[in-house]
Amino acid sequence: MGPGEGQGPGSGSGDGPEAGAAAMPRPMLRLDGATVRFGARAALDDVRLEVAEHETVCVLGPSGSGKSTLLRAVAGLQPLDAGRVSLDGRDLGGVPAHRRGVGLMFQDHQLFPQRDVGGNVAFGLRMRGASKAEQSARVRELLELVGLPGAAERNVASLSGGEQQRVALARALAPRPRLLMLDEPLGQLDRSLRERLVVELRELFHTLGTTVLAVTHDQGEAFALADRVVVMRDGRIAQSGTPLQVWQRPADEFVARFLGFDNVVPATVSGEAADTPWGKVPVPEGSPQGPGTLLVRPAGVRLTDPAEGLRCTVTGRTFRGTHVAVQLQPEGAPRLEAACALRDAPEIGTEAGVLFDAAEISVLEGAEDA
C-alpha cells in the first residue's frame, strides 16, 4: 500500500474507495458534505464519511474537534447547516431523532434516574410498542449479554461506573438499532476496566454483527475497538484508515502529534536522505521529495556511544511499562524522544549519541504548522 492511500477525504482527493470499506458492497451510513456551524465556528466542516454494514468505525480527535457533533448530527439531535446524512440510502433530513432508528450511547450514560435497570433497558422497546413479554425477554437477554444477569430490578443509582456503562450499552442495543453510536463509551472508567471492556465490546459487536460508529479521544481505545479509524481536526477529517495505517503513516503533523509522536520536524528530502535540524536523516525509499515534515518514531531513535552520531544530553526518563521513554536534548536542535529497553536506558545527565533508523521514519504531507 502506497503512502497516499490512507488519506481521508478531508485532506486529499477522497473520491477513491475507502481502505477498510473496499470489501463492503455499499455503505450503510453516508455523510455528504455535512456542515454544522456554531456562530462563526464550524463544528463540522464539509465532512464526508461512509460506514459499511458490520463495520466498526472510531472517530478519534481532541476535544472540540467536532466528533460529538458528528454523532449528534447522525442521531438527529443537531440539525445540519449544509450537506446530508443518509442511512441505507435513505436521506435522513427532516427525520426526527426518534424515528431514525439509530442507537446512541451517551458519554456519561444518561440512565434515567427514576427507572430501574430493567426500565432503562426496556425503554426503547416500550417506545416501539413492544409487548410486556417481549420487553422482559429482551431485557433478560441483553443483561446477560452485557454480563449483568438478574440486575433488572436494581436501582441505577446503586450501579458502579462499569455497570452503568453496561446498562447503557444494553439500553442502546435493546431496540436493535441499524447503527449503534457510542460517545466516549469508556471515557469515565478506570484504566484496567477500560482495557477489559474494550475487548469485550469488540467481541460483542463482532458476534452481533452490529454496525458501530464510536467517538473517543483515546487512541488506545480507538485502535483496539475499530476496524477503521477516522481522525478529526477542527471539524474536518484529517485521516481515515485502518488502525495500522494510521499508526504507521500519520497523514500529517497534526495526526502524528495527536497520536503522541513528538519527534516531528521540518525537513527537506532529497533521495533517501533528509535535511533536518538534527542533521542528515535517512528516509525510506520512495518518500516524497522536497520540503516536508519528518516523523521519527521513538523506536527509530537508537542510542549509541556519545562519540557516534548526533550528540545529546539525557534530560529525562519516563517508565512506560514495556520500555523507557528517554528525553534527549541535542545542541541547538529540538528535543528528541527515544524508546529503549529498561536495561539500556542511560542515566539523566549523561551524554549519548543518536542514530536514526529509516524503517521508523515517515515523511508527512504538508509543511509544519501546528
Binding site: 431523532a97 426518534h98 446512541l104 444518561q110 439500553r171 442502546a172
Partner: protein, 533 residues
C-alpha cells in the same frame, strides 16, 4: 410559547390596553399630554412619594425581621420546622381583606397592643409597614432561606481553615453567595409593597394612598379614567423596571452557585446564642404572624356553640342568593379551574423558557409574565368588561372569567417554581430518550414529567392557594350567586350586625385553614431545588 403569549395577549395585554385607551384616547387621538397634567398635581405627587418611600421602608423592615428567620429555618434543625415553614407562608396567600381585618385586631383599637400597653397603630403608617412585613416574611424566608439551606457549609469551613473568623467567613463566603437571593427577595418585597392595595386600603385609612389604591379610587369611585390610565402607565413602568432588575439578579443567582442537598446542611442549634436566636425568631413569628391569625379564629368562635359557623349554612341572610357556605364550594371550583389554567399556561411558558436555546426575546417574556402581579386588579377587571364583550369572546358573564383572572396571578408562581427545576433537567437525558425512539411528547412524559412532578405539584398548590385568596379582580367579576370565599367575606363585612361580622370571621377562618392545609401538604412534597418561593 405561542399559547402563553396568546393567553397573555388576550387576557392581559388587550384588556389593559383597552382600558388605557378608554382613558387616554378621545376622538381617535391619544392624549399623552394628560400624563404631564396628572403628574403635575400635588396630590398625585404625594401619592407617588408615599408609594415609594413606604415600599422602601417596608422592604428594609421585612429584610431586617425576616433574615434571621431565613437563617434559622435554613440552618437549624428542630421539631416542627416544616409546620413553621408552612405557618409563615400562610399570610402570603391569605386575602388582604381577611388580613387587614385580622391585623387591625392586633394593632388596632382593642387589639393586643392596645390592651397591654395602650398602643394603637391603626391609621398610622406603622400599621401598614408591619402588615407588609406580615405578608412578605415568607418571601424572604423562602427565597433566601431556600438558597441558604443549599449553600455548602464546607465553603465557610474552608474559609475558617484559612484563618477567617466565624463572622469574617460568613461575610466573605456566605454573604456574597446569598447577596443575589437577598436582592431578588428584596425586589420581590419591594414589588409587592409598591403595588400594595388591600393592606393600605384597610389599614391606611383615607390619608395614606399608594398608586394602586389611587388607581382603584380613580377608576372605581371617582370614575376619572384618564387619571387612572396615567397612573396605570406610571405603575407599569415602575413595575417593569423592578422586574427587569429582578430578572437580572435571578439570572446571576442561577448561574453562579454550586448547591448541595438541603437536608444535609441543617443541624441542631447549640450554645446559648443559637438557642437565643431560635427563641427570638419563634417569638417574632408568634407575635407578628400567628397572633393576627389567632385573633381571627378567636373572633370567629366568639359565639356559643359555633353559632357563626352554623349560620353560614342558612341562606336567608339576604347577602347572597345562596348560603355563604356555598362560597367554599365555589371557591374550590374556581381555584381548581384557575390552577389548571395556570399550570398549563405557566408550565408551557416555563418549558419554553427553560430551553437552552431560548433567545433574548423569550427570556424577556420571563419578566413579562410577572407583570400581572404589578398591575392593578381593578384595571384588569374593568379591562375585561370592555375588551371581552364580543362573541366568541363575550366572557363578561361567563364563569370562566373568574378563573382566568385568578390564573393571571397564578401563572407567575407556576413559572417561578417550575423554571429552576426544568432548567436543571439534563438535556441529554431528553436526547437519550429521543434516540431510543421517544417522540417529543413521550420525552416530556417519560423524562421531564417524572422529574418535575413534585415541582408541578408545588406550583399547582401555590397557584391554588393564590387563586383561592385572590380578591381584587375576583370581586369585580365574580357573579353574586357564585361568590368566592374572599368575596363573601368582604360582603359579609359590608353588612351591619353581629351575625354577619361573625360569619365573616368564620369564613375567614375556614379560608385560612384551607390555605394552611394546602401549604402543609406542599411542605411534604417540597422540591429540593431552590425555587423562588
Amino acid at each position: 410559547m405561542a399559547v402563553p403569549v396568546a393567553f397573555f395577549g388576550l387576557f392581559f395585554a388587550y384588556p389593559v390596553a383597552a382600558i388605557l385607551a378608554r382613558g387616554l384616547r378621545a376622538d381617535g387621538v391619544w392624549h399623552f399630554g394628560r400624563i404631564a397634567d396628572v403628574v403635575a398635581q400635588p396630590d398625585i405627587r404625594h401619592v407617588l412619594w408615599f408609594t415609594t418611600w413606604q415600599a422602601l421602608v417596608s422592604t428594609a423592615l421585612t429584610l431586617l425581621i425576616a433574615l434571621p428567620g431565613a437563617y434559622v429555618l435554613a440552618r437549624f434543625d428542630f421539631p416542627g420546622k416544616q409546620v413553621l415553614r408552612a405557618v409563615v407562608t400562610v399570610p402570603f396567600v391569605l386575602p388582604t381583606v381577611v388580613v387587614g381585618t385580622a391585623f387591625l385586631a392586633l394593632v388596632g383599637r382593642g387589639g393586643l397592643l392596645d390592651e397591654l400597653w395602650g398602643v394603637r397603630l391603626d391609621t398610622t403608617v406603622w400599621a401598614i409597614l408591619l402588615a407588609h412585613v406580615f405578608f412578605n416574611y415568607a418571601v424572604v424566608v423562602r427565597t433566601v432561606g431556600g438558597l441558604w439551606s443549599q449553600l455548602d457549609p464546607r465553603q465557610e469551613e474552608a474559609a475558617r481553615m484559612l484563618g477567617a473568623s466565624r463572622f469574617a467567613a460568613w461575610r466573605t463566603v456566605t454573604l456574597p453567595a446569598l447577596a443575589p437571593a437577598v436582592a431578588a427577595a428584596a425586589l420581590m418585597v419591594f414589588l409587592f409593597t409598591f403595588t400594595s392595595f388591600g393592606v393600605v386600603q384597610i389599614l391606611g385609612g383615607p390619608t395614606f394612598s399608594t398608586l394602586e389604591v389611587e388607581i382603584y379610587r380613580q377608576t372605581s369611585e371617582i370614575f376619572d379614567l384618564s387619571t387612572a390610565a396615567v397612573l396605570t402607565i406610571i405603575q407599569f413602568l415602575a413595575v417593569g423596571a423592578i422586574l427587569g432588575v429582578h430578572a437580572w439578579t435571578v439570572r446571576r443567582r442561577e448561574t453562579a452557585l454550586r448547591l448541595v442537598d438541603a437536608s444535609g446542611t441543617a443541624r441542631r442549634p447549640c450554645g446559648a446564642g443559637q438557642w437565643g436566636l431560635l427563641a427570638g425568631v419563634l417569638t417574632t413569628i408568634a407575635v407578628l404572624l400567628v397572633m393576627p391569625l389567632a385573633v381571627l379564629v378567636q373572633r370567629s368562635l366568639d359565639a356559643p356553640g359555633f353559632a357563626y359557623f352554623k349560620e353560614l349554612t342558612s341562606d336567608d341572610s339576604g347577602v347572597f342568593l345562596v348560603a355563604p357556605v356555598e362560597a367554599i364550594g365555589n371557591s374550590l371550583q374556581y381555584a381548581l379551574a384557575a390552577t389548571a389554567i395556570a399550570v398549563v399556561i405557566g408550565g408551557l411558558a416555563a418549558a419554553a423558557l427553560a430551553r437552552r436555546d431560548a433567545g433574548r426575546l423569550v427570556r424577556g417574556f420571563d419578566a413579562l409574565l410577572m407583570l400581572p402581579l404589578g398591575v392593578s386588579a381593578v384595571t384588569v377587571g374593568f379591562g375585561f368588561l370592555i375588551a371581552l364583550d364580543e362573541p366568541p369572546l363575550d366572557l363578561r358573564s361567563s364563569w370562566i372569567l373568574v378563573p382566568l383572572a385568578q390564573a393571571l396571578v397564578g401563572v407567575p408562581f407556576v413559572v417561578r417554581t417550575m423554571l429552576p427545576v426544568l432548567r436543571a433537567v439534563d438535556t441529554r437525558l431528553r436526547e437519550a430518550a429521543a434516540v431510543l425512539g421517544a417522540s417529543p411528547w413521550r420525552v416530556w412524559r417519560e423524562v421531564d414529567l417524572p422529574m418535575v412532578r413534585r415541582a408541578l405539584l408545588v406550583a399547582a398548590g401555590f397557584a391554588f392557594a393564590v387563586s383561592l385568596g385572590e380578591f381584587g379582580a375576583t370581586v369585580f367579576i365574580a357573579r353574586p350567586d357564585n361568590p368566592t370565599l374572599p368575596v363573601a367575606v368582604a360582603r359579609l363585612l359590608g353588612r351591619p350586625g353581629d351575625l354577619n361580622y361573625g360569619q365573616a370571621m368564620a369564613l375567614s377562618t375556614i379560608l385560612m385553614v384551607v390555605c394552611a392545609v394546602a401549604l402543609l401538604l406542599l411542605e411534604r412534597i417540597r422540591t429540593d431545588r431552590a425555587g423562588e418561593l
